[in-house]
Symmetry: C2
Protein backbone atom coordinates (compact mmCIF):
# COMPACT_ATOMS: atom_id res chain seq x y z
CA UNK A 1 0.00 0.00 0.00
CA UNK A 2 1.27 3.43 -0.86
CA UNK A 3 1.56 5.96 1.94
CA UNK A 4 -1.52 8.18 2.00
CA UNK A 5 -1.15 11.63 0.45
CA UNK A 6 -1.11 14.40 3.00
CA UNK A 7 -1.72 18.09 2.41
CA UNK A 8 0.38 20.80 4.04
CA UNK A 9 -0.64 24.45 3.79
CA UNK A 10 2.49 26.63 3.76
CA UNK A 11 3.03 30.38 3.89
CA UNK A 12 4.06 31.65 0.43
CA UNK A 13 5.47 34.87 -1.00
CA UNK A 14 4.31 36.82 -4.05
CA UNK A 15 5.93 33.96 -5.93
CA UNK A 16 3.84 30.96 -4.80
CA UNK A 17 6.97 28.78 -5.03
CA UNK A 18 8.61 30.82 -2.26
CA UNK A 19 7.82 29.08 1.04
CA UNK A 20 9.44 31.06 3.82
CA UNK A 21 7.75 30.34 7.17
CA UNK A 22 10.15 28.69 9.66
CA UNK A 23 7.22 26.89 11.26
CA UNK A 24 6.05 25.50 7.91
CA UNK A 25 9.61 24.29 7.31
CA UNK A 26 9.53 22.47 10.66
CA UNK A 27 6.39 20.64 9.51
CA UNK A 28 7.74 19.89 6.04
CA UNK A 29 10.97 18.47 7.51
CA UNK A 30 8.99 16.39 10.02
CA UNK A 31 7.03 14.86 7.13
CA UNK A 32 10.26 14.16 5.22
CA UNK A 33 11.83 12.58 8.33
CA UNK A 34 8.81 10.26 8.57
CA UNK A 35 9.13 9.52 4.83
CA UNK A 36 5.57 10.72 4.24
CA UNK A 37 4.92 12.25 0.82
CA UNK A 38 2.85 15.42 1.15
CA UNK A 39 1.38 17.89 -1.26
CA UNK A 40 2.39 21.39 -0.16
CA UNK A 41 -0.11 24.15 -0.92
CA UNK A 42 0.84 27.84 -1.02
CA UNK A 43 -1.12 30.11 1.31
CA UNK A 44 -0.88 33.84 1.94
CA UNK A 45 -1.46 35.96 5.07
CA UNK A 46 -4.70 37.36 3.67
CA UNK A 47 -6.30 34.01 2.80
CA UNK A 48 -7.86 33.42 6.19
CA UNK A 49 -11.01 31.89 4.69
CA UNK A 50 -9.02 29.16 2.92
CA UNK A 51 -7.92 27.61 6.21
CA UNK A 52 -11.06 28.44 8.20
CA UNK A 53 -11.77 24.68 8.24
CA UNK A 54 -8.83 24.34 10.65
CA UNK A 55 -10.54 26.51 13.27
CA UNK A 56 -7.72 29.06 13.37
CA UNK A 57 -5.83 31.52 11.18
CA UNK A 58 -2.24 30.35 10.94
CA UNK A 59 -0.18 27.91 8.91
CA UNK A 60 1.16 25.26 8.88
CA UNK A 61 -2.05 23.29 8.62
CA UNK A 62 -1.77 19.55 7.96
CA UNK A 63 -4.64 17.58 6.45
CA UNK A 64 -4.33 13.82 6.81
CA UNK A 65 -7.54 12.25 5.52
CA UNK A 66 -10.22 13.29 8.00
CA UNK A 67 -7.72 14.74 10.46
CA UNK A 68 -6.76 18.43 10.49
CA UNK A 69 -3.84 19.59 12.66
CA UNK A 70 -2.45 23.11 12.98
CA UNK A 71 0.65 24.41 14.83
CA UNK A 72 4.04 22.94 13.95
CA UNK A 73 4.65 21.40 17.38
CA UNK A 74 1.25 19.69 17.40
CA UNK A 75 1.87 18.47 13.85
CA UNK A 76 5.15 16.84 14.95
CA UNK A 77 3.47 15.17 17.93
CA UNK A 78 0.58 14.02 15.72
CA UNK A 79 2.93 12.47 13.15
CA UNK A 80 4.94 10.73 15.88
CA UNK A 81 1.82 9.19 17.37
CA UNK A 82 0.01 8.41 14.11
CA UNK A 83 3.04 6.86 12.34
CA UNK A 84 4.98 5.14 15.13
CA UNK A 85 6.45 2.54 12.75
CA UNK A 86 8.29 5.24 10.79
CA UNK A 87 11.56 6.91 11.94
CA UNK A 88 11.01 8.65 15.27
CA UNK A 89 11.10 12.45 15.37
CA UNK A 90 12.23 12.44 19.01
CA UNK A 91 13.84 9.07 19.69
CA UNK A 92 12.05 8.49 22.98
CA UNK A 93 9.69 10.06 25.51
CA UNK A 94 12.45 11.66 27.59
CA UNK A 95 13.67 13.65 24.57
CA UNK A 96 10.26 15.20 23.83
CA UNK A 97 10.26 17.96 26.49
CA UNK A 98 13.87 18.83 25.66
CA UNK A 99 13.09 19.04 21.93
CA UNK A 100 10.23 21.33 22.91
CA UNK A 101 12.71 23.51 24.82
CA UNK A 102 14.95 23.71 21.73
CA UNK A 103 11.86 24.75 19.77
CA UNK A 104 11.10 27.43 22.36
CA UNK A 105 14.71 28.62 22.20
CA UNK A 106 14.51 28.88 18.40
CA UNK A 107 11.16 30.71 18.55
CA UNK A 108 11.89 33.13 21.39
CA UNK A 109 15.63 33.79 21.06
CA UNK A 110 16.71 33.07 17.48
CA UNK A 111 13.60 34.16 15.58
CA UNK A 112 13.40 37.70 17.05
CA UNK A 113 17.10 38.20 16.29
CA UNK A 114 16.82 36.85 12.72
CA UNK A 115 13.68 38.92 12.07
CA UNK A 116 15.67 42.12 12.46
CA UNK A 117 18.09 41.01 9.76
CA UNK A 118 15.55 39.87 7.15
CA UNK A 119 12.54 42.09 7.82
CA UNK A 120 12.84 44.21 4.67
CA UNK A 121 13.63 41.13 2.57
CA UNK A 122 10.38 39.53 3.73
CA UNK A 123 8.48 42.72 3.00
CA UNK A 124 9.83 42.80 -0.56
CA UNK A 125 8.96 39.20 -1.31
CA UNK A 126 5.46 38.89 0.06
CA UNK A 127 2.46 39.61 -2.15
CA UNK A 128 1.55 43.32 -2.44
CA UNK A 129 -1.85 42.51 -0.90
CA UNK A 130 -0.11 41.19 2.23
CA UNK A 131 2.20 44.16 2.75
CA UNK A 132 -0.12 46.44 4.72
CA UNK A 133 -0.87 43.66 7.19
CA UNK A 134 2.79 42.74 7.48
CA UNK A 135 4.01 46.30 8.01
CA UNK A 136 1.28 47.16 10.51
CA UNK A 137 1.62 44.00 12.62
CA UNK A 138 5.44 44.05 12.71
CA UNK A 139 5.75 47.78 13.37
CA UNK A 140 3.33 47.36 16.27
CA UNK A 141 5.43 44.48 17.64
CA UNK A 142 8.71 46.41 17.40
CA UNK A 143 7.34 49.86 18.19
CA UNK A 144 9.39 51.16 15.26
CA UNK A 145 9.25 51.29 11.47
CA UNK A 146 10.52 48.28 9.50
CA UNK A 147 13.26 50.52 8.11
CA UNK A 148 14.38 51.65 11.58
CA UNK A 149 14.45 48.08 12.94
CA UNK A 150 16.54 46.93 9.98
CA UNK A 151 18.89 49.91 9.88
CA UNK A 152 21.68 48.54 12.12
CA UNK A 153 22.59 45.71 9.74
CA UNK A 154 25.97 44.91 11.30
CA UNK A 155 24.62 45.00 14.84
CA UNK A 156 21.59 42.87 13.98
CA UNK A 157 23.76 40.25 12.28
CA UNK A 158 26.18 40.19 15.22
CA UNK A 159 23.24 39.61 17.58
CA UNK A 160 22.14 36.55 15.57
CA UNK A 161 25.64 35.11 15.66
CA UNK A 162 25.91 35.72 19.41
CA UNK A 163 22.53 34.07 20.03
CA UNK A 164 23.77 30.95 18.23
CA UNK A 165 26.54 30.35 20.78
CA UNK A 166 24.96 27.32 22.56
CA UNK A 167 24.24 25.64 19.20
CA UNK A 168 27.77 26.42 18.03
CA UNK A 169 29.28 24.80 21.14
CA UNK A 170 27.32 21.60 20.55
CA UNK A 171 27.90 21.40 16.79
CA UNK A 172 31.64 21.74 17.29
CA UNK A 173 31.42 18.29 18.90
CA UNK A 174 28.87 16.31 16.84
CA UNK A 175 27.24 16.45 13.39
CA UNK A 176 23.68 17.20 14.53
CA UNK A 177 22.08 18.76 17.57
CA UNK A 178 20.34 15.42 18.17
CA UNK A 179 23.53 13.36 17.77
CA UNK A 180 24.78 11.32 14.81
CA UNK A 181 21.55 11.78 12.88
CA UNK A 182 19.15 14.73 12.67
CA UNK A 183 15.81 14.70 14.44
CA UNK A 184 13.03 17.12 15.21
CA UNK A 185 15.07 19.48 17.43
CA UNK A 186 17.46 19.97 14.51
CA UNK A 187 14.54 20.87 12.23
CA UNK A 188 13.18 23.40 14.75
CA UNK A 189 16.43 25.36 14.43
CA UNK A 190 17.13 24.64 10.77
CA UNK A 191 13.66 25.96 9.90
CA UNK A 192 14.89 29.37 11.06
CA UNK A 193 17.75 29.20 8.55
CA UNK A 194 15.38 28.17 5.75
CA UNK A 195 13.25 31.19 6.59
CA UNK A 196 16.27 33.48 6.12
CA UNK A 197 17.59 31.62 3.07
CA UNK A 198 14.27 31.75 1.26
CA UNK A 199 13.87 35.53 1.43
CA UNK A 200 17.31 37.03 1.95
CA UNK A 201 20.69 37.08 0.22
CA UNK A 202 22.34 37.94 3.57
CA UNK A 203 24.19 34.94 5.00
CA UNK A 204 23.52 34.67 8.74
CA UNK A 205 26.74 32.70 9.28
CA UNK A 206 30.46 33.13 8.75
CA UNK A 207 31.82 30.42 6.44
CA UNK A 208 33.97 28.85 9.18
CA UNK A 209 31.12 28.62 11.71
CA UNK A 210 30.43 25.00 12.80
CA UNK A 211 26.77 25.96 12.48
CA UNK A 212 27.34 26.53 8.74
CA UNK A 213 28.61 22.95 8.27
CA UNK A 214 25.53 21.60 10.06
CA UNK A 215 23.32 23.77 7.84
CA UNK A 216 25.02 22.29 4.75
CA UNK A 217 24.31 18.75 5.98
CA UNK A 218 20.63 19.59 6.46
CA UNK A 219 20.39 21.31 3.08
CA UNK A 220 21.56 17.96 1.65
CA UNK A 221 19.16 15.84 3.75
CA UNK A 222 16.19 14.09 2.15
CA UNK A 223 17.78 14.16 -1.29
CA UNK A 224 18.53 17.88 -1.11
CA UNK A 225 14.90 18.88 -0.49
CA UNK A 226 15.79 22.11 1.33
CA UNK A 227 18.61 23.06 -1.03
CA UNK A 228 16.30 22.77 -4.05
CA UNK A 229 13.64 25.03 -2.52
CA UNK A 230 13.09 28.47 -4.04
CA UNK A 231 15.39 30.99 -2.38
CA UNK A 232 16.16 34.66 -2.87
CA UNK A 233 19.23 35.40 -4.96
CA UNK A 234 19.96 31.74 -5.65
CA UNK A 235 19.45 29.69 -8.80
CA UNK A 236 16.40 27.43 -8.44
CA UNK B 1 25.76 -3.02 51.28
CA UNK B 2 25.93 0.71 51.86
CA UNK B 3 26.56 2.90 48.85
CA UNK B 4 30.22 3.84 48.66
CA UNK B 5 31.12 7.29 49.94
CA UNK B 6 32.08 9.66 47.17
CA UNK B 7 34.05 12.90 47.48
CA UNK B 8 33.09 16.06 45.64
CA UNK B 9 35.41 19.08 45.61
CA UNK B 10 33.32 22.25 45.43
CA UNK B 11 34.22 25.91 45.01
CA UNK B 12 33.82 27.74 48.34
CA UNK B 13 33.73 31.34 49.51
CA UNK B 14 35.60 32.96 52.40
CA UNK B 15 33.05 31.06 54.48
CA UNK B 16 33.84 27.42 53.61
CA UNK B 17 30.13 26.61 53.97
CA UNK B 18 29.33 28.89 51.04
CA UNK B 19 29.37 26.74 47.88
CA UNK B 20 28.56 28.96 44.94
CA UNK B 21 29.80 27.41 41.69
CA UNK B 22 26.91 26.59 39.31
CA UNK B 23 28.93 23.71 37.89
CA UNK B 24 29.54 22.22 41.34
CA UNK B 25 25.80 22.49 41.99
CA UNK B 26 25.14 20.53 38.80
CA UNK B 27 27.38 17.75 40.12
CA UNK B 28 25.89 17.83 43.62
CA UNK B 29 22.35 17.62 42.22
CA UNK B 30 23.35 14.77 39.90
CA UNK B 31 24.65 12.84 42.92
CA UNK B 32 21.42 13.55 44.84
CA UNK B 33 19.32 12.43 41.85
CA UNK B 34 21.23 9.16 41.83
CA UNK B 35 20.73 8.86 45.59
CA UNK B 36 24.49 8.69 46.13
CA UNK B 37 25.74 10.11 49.42
CA UNK B 38 28.84 12.23 48.90
CA UNK B 39 31.17 14.14 51.13
CA UNK B 40 31.52 17.66 49.75
CA UNK B 41 34.88 19.35 50.31
CA UNK B 42 35.38 23.12 50.13
CA UNK B 43 38.01 24.29 47.66
CA UNK B 44 39.20 27.80 46.76
CA UNK B 45 40.47 29.29 43.46
CA UNK B 46 44.01 29.48 44.80
CA UNK B 47 44.26 25.84 45.94
CA UNK B 48 45.40 24.46 42.63
CA UNK B 49 47.79 21.98 44.28
CA UNK B 50 44.97 20.34 46.25
CA UNK B 51 43.30 19.06 43.06
CA UNK B 52 46.47 18.52 41.04
CA UNK B 53 45.74 14.77 41.31
CA UNK B 54 42.82 15.36 38.90
CA UNK B 55 45.20 16.51 36.14
CA UNK B 56 43.53 19.93 35.80
CA UNK B 57 42.76 23.10 37.78
CA UNK B 58 38.97 23.37 38.05
CA UNK B 59 36.20 22.05 40.25
CA UNK B 60 33.96 20.12 40.45
CA UNK B 61 36.20 17.10 40.92
CA UNK B 62 34.55 13.81 41.84
CA UNK B 63 36.49 11.03 43.54
CA UNK B 64 34.78 7.63 43.46
CA UNK B 65 37.20 5.09 44.89
CA UNK B 66 40.04 4.86 42.38
CA UNK B 67 38.21 6.95 39.79
CA UNK B 68 38.71 10.71 39.48
CA UNK B 69 36.41 12.70 37.20
CA UNK B 70 36.43 16.45 36.58
CA UNK B 71 34.02 18.68 34.62
CA UNK B 72 30.34 18.65 35.55
CA UNK B 73 29.13 17.20 32.24
CA UNK B 74 31.64 14.35 32.40
CA UNK B 75 30.67 13.72 36.02
CA UNK B 76 27.00 13.37 35.02
CA UNK B 77 27.88 10.97 32.19
CA UNK B 78 30.16 9.00 34.51
CA UNK B 79 27.44 8.63 37.16
CA UNK B 80 24.88 7.58 34.56
CA UNK B 81 27.18 4.87 33.22
CA UNK B 82 28.60 3.72 36.55
CA UNK B 83 25.26 3.55 38.40
CA UNK B 84 22.75 2.47 35.72
CA UNK B 85 20.46 0.82 38.28
CA UNK B 86 19.80 4.15 39.99
CA UNK B 87 17.38 6.82 38.67
CA UNK B 88 18.49 7.98 35.23
CA UNK B 89 19.83 11.51 34.84
CA UNK B 90 18.74 11.65 31.20
CA UNK B 91 15.95 9.11 30.75
CA UNK B 92 17.36 7.64 27.55
CA UNK B 93 20.08 8.00 24.94
CA UNK B 94 18.08 10.36 22.70
CA UNK B 95 17.77 12.90 25.53
CA UNK B 96 21.53 13.09 26.21
CA UNK B 97 22.53 15.43 23.33
CA UNK B 98 19.52 17.65 24.04
CA UNK B 99 20.37 17.84 27.75
CA UNK B 100 23.86 18.81 26.65
CA UNK B 101 22.37 21.61 24.55
CA UNK B 102 20.42 22.87 27.58
CA UNK B 103 23.70 22.82 29.51
CA UNK B 104 25.37 24.81 26.72
CA UNK B 105 22.48 27.28 26.74
CA UNK B 106 22.82 27.73 30.50
CA UNK B 107 26.61 28.15 30.26
CA UNK B 108 26.80 30.44 27.23
CA UNK B 109 23.59 32.49 27.47
CA UNK B 110 22.38 32.50 31.07
CA UNK B 111 25.69 32.48 32.92
CA UNK B 112 27.17 35.56 31.19
CA UNK B 113 23.95 37.48 31.86
CA UNK B 114 23.76 36.40 35.52
CA UNK B 115 27.46 37.16 36.05
CA UNK B 116 26.82 40.85 35.39
CA UNK B 117 24.19 40.95 38.15
CA UNK B 118 26.16 39.13 40.87
CA UNK B 119 29.77 40.00 40.05
CA UNK B 120 30.34 42.31 43.03
CA UNK B 121 28.48 39.93 45.36
CA UNK B 122 30.86 37.14 44.37
CA UNK B 123 33.85 39.42 44.88
CA UNK B 124 32.69 40.28 48.40
CA UNK B 125 32.14 36.69 49.44
CA UNK B 126 35.25 34.98 48.14
CA UNK B 127 38.35 34.67 50.32
CA UNK B 128 40.57 37.79 50.34
CA UNK B 129 43.38 35.63 48.92
CA UNK B 130 41.23 34.83 45.87
CA UNK B 131 40.21 38.39 45.10
CA UNK B 132 43.18 39.47 42.97
CA UNK B 133 42.79 36.43 40.74
CA UNK B 134 39.05 36.94 40.46
CA UNK B 135 39.25 40.64 39.64
CA UNK B 136 42.06 40.20 37.13
CA UNK B 137 40.49 37.27 35.26
CA UNK B 138 36.99 38.76 35.11
CA UNK B 139 38.11 42.26 34.16
CA UNK B 140 40.14 40.74 31.35
CA UNK B 141 37.08 38.78 30.17
CA UNK B 142 34.77 41.80 30.21
CA UNK B 143 37.31 44.42 29.16
CA UNK B 144 35.99 46.62 31.97
CA UNK B 145 36.24 46.96 35.74
CA UNK B 146 33.95 44.81 37.91
CA UNK B 147 32.29 48.02 39.09
CA UNK B 148 31.60 49.22 35.53
CA UNK B 149 30.18 45.86 34.46
CA UNK B 150 27.85 45.80 37.48
CA UNK B 151 26.79 49.45 37.32
CA UNK B 152 23.67 49.06 35.17
CA UNK B 153 21.79 46.98 37.72
CA UNK B 154 18.33 47.38 36.18
CA UNK B 155 19.56 46.69 32.65
CA UNK B 156 21.59 43.66 33.74
CA UNK B 157 18.62 42.17 35.60
CA UNK B 158 16.30 42.81 32.63
CA UNK B 159 18.78 40.99 30.38
CA UNK B 160 18.68 37.90 32.64
CA UNK B 161 14.89 37.88 32.60
CA UNK B 162 14.83 38.26 28.80
CA UNK B 163 17.33 35.42 28.37
CA UNK B 164 15.03 33.14 30.38
CA UNK B 165 12.17 33.43 27.85
CA UNK B 166 12.49 29.92 26.33
CA UNK B 167 12.58 28.35 29.82
CA UNK B 168 9.61 30.47 30.87
CA UNK B 169 7.55 29.32 27.88
CA UNK B 170 8.20 25.66 28.73
CA UNK B 171 7.64 25.98 32.49
CA UNK B 172 4.28 27.65 31.91
CA UNK B 173 3.15 24.27 30.57
CA UNK B 174 4.81 21.66 32.81
CA UNK B 175 6.43 21.44 36.25
CA UNK B 176 9.99 20.69 35.13
CA UNK B 177 12.01 21.30 32.01
CA UNK B 178 12.35 17.51 31.68
CA UNK B 179 8.64 16.83 32.19
CA UNK B 180 6.76 15.66 35.27
CA UNK B 181 9.95 15.02 37.21
CA UNK B 182 13.27 16.86 37.24
CA UNK B 183 16.33 15.42 35.53
CA UNK B 184 19.81 16.57 34.62
CA UNK B 185 18.77 19.34 32.19
CA UNK B 186 16.78 20.91 35.03
CA UNK B 187 19.87 20.82 37.27
CA UNK B 188 22.03 22.46 34.58
CA UNK B 189 19.77 25.50 34.71
CA UNK B 190 18.90 25.39 38.40
CA UNK B 191 22.62 25.38 39.22
CA UNK B 192 22.74 28.91 37.78
CA UNK B 193 20.09 30.00 40.26
CA UNK B 194 21.93 28.37 43.16
CA UNK B 195 25.03 30.31 42.13
CA UNK B 196 23.10 33.59 42.37
CA UNK B 197 21.23 32.61 45.54
CA UNK B 198 24.38 31.61 47.38
CA UNK B 199 26.17 34.93 46.93
CA UNK B 200 23.54 37.58 46.24
CA UNK B 201 20.45 39.03 47.91
CA UNK B 202 19.19 40.17 44.49
CA UNK B 203 16.33 38.00 43.27
CA UNK B 204 16.80 37.21 39.58
CA UNK B 205 13.07 36.55 39.13
CA UNK B 206 9.79 38.39 39.58
CA UNK B 207 7.53 36.58 42.06
CA UNK B 208 4.90 35.74 39.41
CA UNK B 209 7.43 34.27 36.95
CA UNK B 210 6.70 30.58 36.17
CA UNK B 211 10.45 30.10 36.46
CA UNK B 212 10.20 31.13 40.13
CA UNK B 213 7.67 28.33 40.86
CA UNK B 214 9.98 25.80 39.22
CA UNK B 215 12.88 27.14 41.31
CA UNK B 216 10.81 26.65 44.48
CA UNK B 217 10.13 23.03 43.53
CA UNK B 218 13.83 22.37 43.04
CA UNK B 219 14.75 24.13 46.28
CA UNK B 220 12.44 21.59 47.94
CA UNK B 221 13.83 18.58 46.04
CA UNK B 222 15.95 15.95 47.81
CA UNK B 223 14.55 16.88 51.22
CA UNK B 224 15.26 20.59 50.75
CA UNK B 225 18.99 20.09 50.11
CA UNK B 226 19.36 23.26 48.03
CA UNK B 227 17.14 25.38 50.26
CA UNK B 228 19.22 24.50 53.33
CA UNK B 229 22.50 25.45 51.67
CA UNK B 230 24.33 28.53 52.92
CA UNK B 231 23.11 31.59 51.05
CA UNK B 232 23.81 35.32 51.24
CA UNK B 233 21.30 37.32 53.23
CA UNK B 234 19.26 34.27 54.19
CA UNK B 235 19.01 32.42 57.48
CA UNK B 236 20.94 29.15 57.29
Amino acid sequence: MDAPTLLLYELAGADPALRFSPHCWKARLALAHKGLPAETLPWRFSEIERIAFSGQKLVPVLVDGETVVSDSWRIACYLEERYPERPSLFGGASAVPLAQFVNAWADTTLAPAITRVILLDIFERIHPEDRDYFRRSREQRFGASLEDVASDRAGNLAAVRAALQPLRRELAARPYLCGDRPAYADYCVFGMFMWARSVSATDLLAADDPVASWRERLLDAFGGMARRAAAAGRAA
